[in-house]
Amino acid sequence: MKIIIVGCGKIGTTVIQSLVSEDHDVVAVDWDRNVVNEITNIYDVIGVCGSGADCETLREADAAHAELFASLTGNDEVNMLACFIAKRMGARHTIARVRNTGYSEQSIGYMRQQLDISMTVNPEALSAQELFHILRLPGAVNMETFSRRSFEMAEFKLRADSPLSGMTLADMRRRYKANFLVGVVQRGENVYIPDGSFTLRDGDRIGLTADAAEMMKLIRLMGITQKQAKSVMIIGASRTAFYLAKMMLAGGANVKIIEKDKERCRTFSESLEGAVIINGDGARQELLMEEGLTRMDGFVALTGMDEENILLSYYAQEAGVPKVISKVNRSEFALMADKLGLECVVSPKKVISDIFVRYARALRSSIGSKIETLYKLMDGRAEALEFIAQSDFKYLHVPLKDIMLRPNMLIAGIIRGRKSIIPTGEDVITAGDRVVVLTARSRMSDLSDMVR
């Protein structure tokens, strides 16, 4: 499928990388010649140098025949204009990155409609959302939600003293009478889709799916949980920090933001009612202590520097903050952070590339039961996907035990109306169900892909 990506910054490059690994034909557009050269050296893409809003550039990139056109530059207006022109030229779907906090939901909706843009994405808001979910369930290293948040998948790391280590999954299910499923396990370099006889060990990273209401209960039963983060310290007044603080405040939490730049502090204090804004250098440990770091339930490092985030998080973790999250952009640093013992590393790039992979795959299977949601799990080695079963799906009303699934596939949940089912062999899929599928090492773009 032909895809044009305008703007090859951090976000753009990540999207390009994941789309290339999905075997799409990608055209990368950027105004900086060096960036374009770099991109074409590393990835199997064609590069065009020029402004994304210039019709000459778009003509050279052949926007007229693009199935998907995405403008991901740092400038909202350029992005929207580029999408508008590309659409007029004949691009089928357009995605614009719009992140200015000044645009309200309604005005973005209006512009999207008027400019005929298929979707707008806001990476900062999306990663804030992800951070919010993790803070809500501090025991988890990662948290994904399906079907408008009614169904969840949480990733945990089994610590040495975990009661779960040494237990088989069948035992685990007998012991905790809740409705859940361990759908995917990462052990070292390998990712497994386990069956009942699988024995858990220390250090495993497990992915657990359950109904949203059930999840809290379950986690308490297993003794992994800590209490929901009620007071959170955020370093760096970035856009992500803004969205996160807003959500936390709405949930009644205490938020303290530390920022070096005085002007930014002022804007934040104007627009964030209730948050404590501190003007100071977050890298100064004395300041952190003075502001009560040890009394915090959560610590989120959101400065623009990966290195700073990692070091600050390490310090906070040593100081005994129960939940520490660091934002790390570069994946090689994320690995380092993992080695330092920082479990919870969030990359804003991953969130956005998941969205693009899903969008592109859904376009590829234009008929049938398309993907609704896609998450890459366990550093991209596994995927969780949500589909809506259409009436033409061949295996409707067939008991799951009679469907021959391909290897490394698992149906992790069926959501029917308001009810979520953790399926057993006797359950069936009916038309209109939302089906959550877990897979390792294979790509799905349609629900029927899971059948052998």
């Binding site: 034909d25 010649r33 050269n37 050296n41 199997d44 893409v45 064609i46």
Partner: protein, 480 residues
């Protein structure tokens, strides 16, 4: 450096050579010739060696950088030639291995310089193989591998860049694999078209195929002592036109096929190339008018020779060694200009020459207006400093390499015209030169040392110097 990936790709390539050898095996089977044994033996050896190399080079790490790309290409071409020479040597039709190696390098690099003095004596299977190496070498072996083998390597653009001639190698479509496929489809399409046109002109099928291979790769191996001279004027014109076509940047063909005519017409390199051809044909025709009976014949001979030299093919329809000095000088200049970038031809390449001229003009402007700020544009696009540096450095190395080779070859006992034109003809992948290596003669009389030097010249010319020179730079090989 990712040595394993280099070895693995080499293995793939050697295996490919075994597959390529199937074609001449088929031909010699059809004619029931004895050389089939030598061909089959070589193919078997290639299968074995290729499999071993691929086994030795198994690796999970498929990332390569520019350095590996250069190395893969130069090693691939040398081993391909070394193995490809075996059938000639084993069958005894070229008893000396150095001669056989020279002949095969000349084939793969699409030079067309030959040490054979009596072509009519050779078996048809081996002559077919000799010409087939032109066809394979023209578009590039590794480009071919890109096109057919799934998941060659990440970043395989480095390999294409090292193998495709020209200062700027761009992709036609986003993926390397698809680009390679499109290039080969155009190549195959033009080849088939030429064979059909030649057969329609009553050239025997075998001759048509062999001559088309020579034209397509801009090589120049024929099967007759007098090259193309004994064929009808129609056939000569067909070959003239196709030589010129294969000298055009293949991107232009792609744009034409994709119906992007305006973009295709923007290619100033092609227009310059055609203009040079036109002017040269006219100049030589006027110069040699008194030697031939009719204007038609004069123009035909002039056009054929010009097309043959500028595209670096090296076919001939008359002994241009006998032409007046001016005509020979024009041909000698054309040898250095060469065809367009992105074609199968050799030489300095039109686009490089255009960039050099523009840089020179800017330099002059700087002398007059020391504070002037200038840019160099090619086909409407501004070139960055790195490209300009590359082109300038290439030219320096090109000249250095040329004169070093010239000095080395002049140790032999020939006159200066012969030596100079021999090196020019080999280095620019043309084939015949002037004097003792003219179209009616051969390279057989050179000493073994000179033959090796000239083989090196051909490889340097075809791979555009950098990959071959990098092989001799110690830091390429160290682990640091």
């Amino acid at each position: 450096m990712n040595r394993r990936m280099v070895i693995f790709t080499l293995g793939q390539m050697v295996l490919l050579e075994a597959v390529l050898l199937l074609l001449p095996i088929l031909v010699s089977a059809l004619y029931g010739e004895a050389c089939i044994k030598a061909l089959a033996l070589t193919a078997g050896g290639c299968v074995l060696a290729g499999a071993l190399l691929m086994l030795a080079g198994r690796t999970k790490n498929r990332v390569i950088y520019a350095k590996e790309g250069f190395l893969i290409v130069s090693l691939a071409w040398i081993s391909l030639s070394a193995l490809g020479a075996l059938p000639f040597f084993i069958s005894g039709e070229i008893p000396n291995y150095i001669d056989a190696f020279f002949e095969t390098v000349s084939g793969f690099t699409t030079t067309g310089a030959s040490i054979l003095t009596n072509l009519e004596k050779m078996s048809r299977g081996l002559l077919f193989w000799r010409s087939f190496t032109h066809w394979v070498g023209g578009m590039g072996v590794l480009v071919f591998i890109m096109a057919i083998v799934p998941n060659v390597s990440e970043r395989s653009i480095h390999i294409i860049r090292a193998e495709m001639p020209g200062p700027i190698v761009g992709k036609l479509v986003p993926r390397v694999k698809d680009t390679a496929k499109i290039l080969y489809l155009i190549y195959i399409g033009l080849t088939v078209l030429e064979i059909i046109l030649l057969v329609a002109g009553k050239m025997p099928l075998y001759d048509s195929i062999v001559h088309t291979f020579g034209t397509a790769g801009t090589g120049g191996f024929g099967i007759k002592g007098d090259s193309i001279a004994s064929y009808s004027p129609y056939l000569q014109w067909v070959i003239t036109v196709f030589m010129l076509l294969f000298g055009i940047n293949f991107n232009v063909f792609y744009l034409l096929l994709a119906r992007r005519f305006r973009a295709a017409a923007k290619s100033t390199e092609v227009w310059t190339y055609l203009a040079i051809v036109g002017v040269s044909v006219a100049a030589i025709a006027v110069n040699i008018r008194h030697m031939y009976a009719t204007i038609a014949e004069t123009v035909r001979l002039s056009a054929f020779q010009v097309a043959s030299i500028i595209t670096t093919t090296g076919y001939s329809t008359c002994d241009f060694n006998l032409w007046p000095g001016f005509s020979k000088s024009v041909l000698l200049v054309l040898m250095f200009i060469g065809a367009c970038a992105g074609s199968t031809g050799g030489g300095l390449k039109g686009s490089r020459l255009m960039i050099l001229v523009k840089m020179g003009r800017n330099e002059l402007r700087h002398l007059i207006h020391p504070r002037s700020v200038t840019t160099v544009k090619l086909e409407g696009k501004q070139l960055d400093a790195a490209t300009l540096h590359n082109v300038a450095n290439y030219f320096i190395l090109y000249m250095l390499a040329f004169f070093s080779l010239f000095l080395a070859v002049s140790l032999d006992r020939f006159d200066i015209e012969t030596d100079f034109s021999a090196v020019a003809a080999c280095f620019n992948n043309i084939g015949p030169g002037f004097g003792a290596v003219g179209p009616a003669a051969s390279y057989a009389a050179y000493s073994p040392l000179s033959k090796i030097v000239l083989s090196l010249a051909m490889l340097l010319g075809r791979l555009e110097i950098f990959p071959v020179i990098l092989m001799f730079v110690p830091s390429t090989w160290t682990k640091k």
